[in-house]
């Protein structure tokens, strides 16, 4: 059994899910902080 498809598959899952977590956390933080700043300026 060729092991590389399993290695590549495992790394792809880990990288995609970690990147998705970081991007979602960053986007929600930026959105929330921008809304708070906009309200402060009003």
């Amino acid at each position: 059994m060729n092991p590389w498809p399993f290695v590549v598959g495992a790394y792809s899952v880990a990288i995609v899910l970690t990147a998705a977590l970081l991007l979602w956390s960053y986007a929600s933080m930026r959105r929330a902080e921008a809304a708070a700043d906009a309200l402060k300026r009003k």
Binding site: P3, V7, Y11, A14, T18, L22, S25, A32, A36, L39
Partner: protein
């Protein structure tokens, strides 16, 4: 910990810390992954699939450490009424759930060529799956309680009760000697050869920094949302 009870002081520390954790985490995780994929030899028994170790072990550690963080946040909220306790618990949960999922999926992918099966109802695998479902329950309960304007006490109690699963996961390979291998990395040493082991600390620290960055970003988002909500309420009154 009480020094961080003031959200303004917490944010002053959290802003630069988030950027540092992200930068250090990315460098170490990418470096560790690259080293693990190219610089280490294949295992004499498992061959190339042993390379899954460099992502599977950090994700298992972070899946469990995340719940330990939730339990600590729950104690700080229930015992000391720490104002950031509930926020910290809710912020850690998505990161913990993500790494528990990565652990389960990469373990399953590792299991197919190594054990000949994608899944087995083994003690370690089942208790890790239970942890993942506990995370989903915590996220659902936390957001429901927040929507209803609760203090998050029920969620905190759930977080403490769920911590019972942590020693079960840890000792599962000793209590039920089924398919998952026993402990190969301990505090005092490891049964894995150094030629294979050395990139693991890089990915362990790297992914831990990324986990911390994700949790801090979620905490900052929650605090900003609370600020907007409070201001809207004052403007409406």
């Amino acid at each position: 910990m009480h020094a961080l009870a003031n959200p303004a002081r917490f944010l002053r520390i959290a802003r630069p810390t988030t950027a540092w954790l992200l930068a250090i985490g990315l460098v170490l995780a990418i470096g560790g992954i690259a080293a693990g994929l190219t610089l280490t030899p294949p295992d004499y028994l498992q061959g190339e699939t042993v390379r899954i170790l460099y992502i599977h072990v950090p994700s298992a550690w972070l899946g469990m450490a995340g719940w330990l963080g939730i339990a600590a946040a729950s104690v700080s909220q229930l015992v000391w009424r720490h104002p950031l306790g509930a926020v910290a618990g809710r912020a850690v949960a998505p990161a913990g759930a993500t790494f528990a999922a990565i652990c389960l999926i990469t373990g399953s992918i590792w299991g197919r060529p190594t054990w000949g099966t994608w899944w087995e109802w083994d003690g370690r695998l089942t208790s890790m799956l239970v942890l993942f479902f506990l995370y989903l329950g915590y996220i659902a309960l936390g957001s429901a309680e927040k929507e209803r304007g609760g203090e998050g006490r029920i969620t905190a109690i759930y977080g403490l009760v769920g911590a019972i699963n942590l020693p079960i996961i840890h000792y599962s390979v000793l209590w039920w000697r089924t398919l998952h291998q026993g402990e190969s990395i301990g505090l005092t040493g490891s049964s894995i050869d150094n030629a294979i082991l050395w990139p693991l600390p890089l990915t362990m620290v790297g992914f831990t920094c990324l986990f911390g960055a994700a949790a801090l970003m979620r905490m900052r988002a929650e605090l900003a949302e609370a600020k907007v909500e409070a201001r809207m309420r004052r403007m409406g009154a």
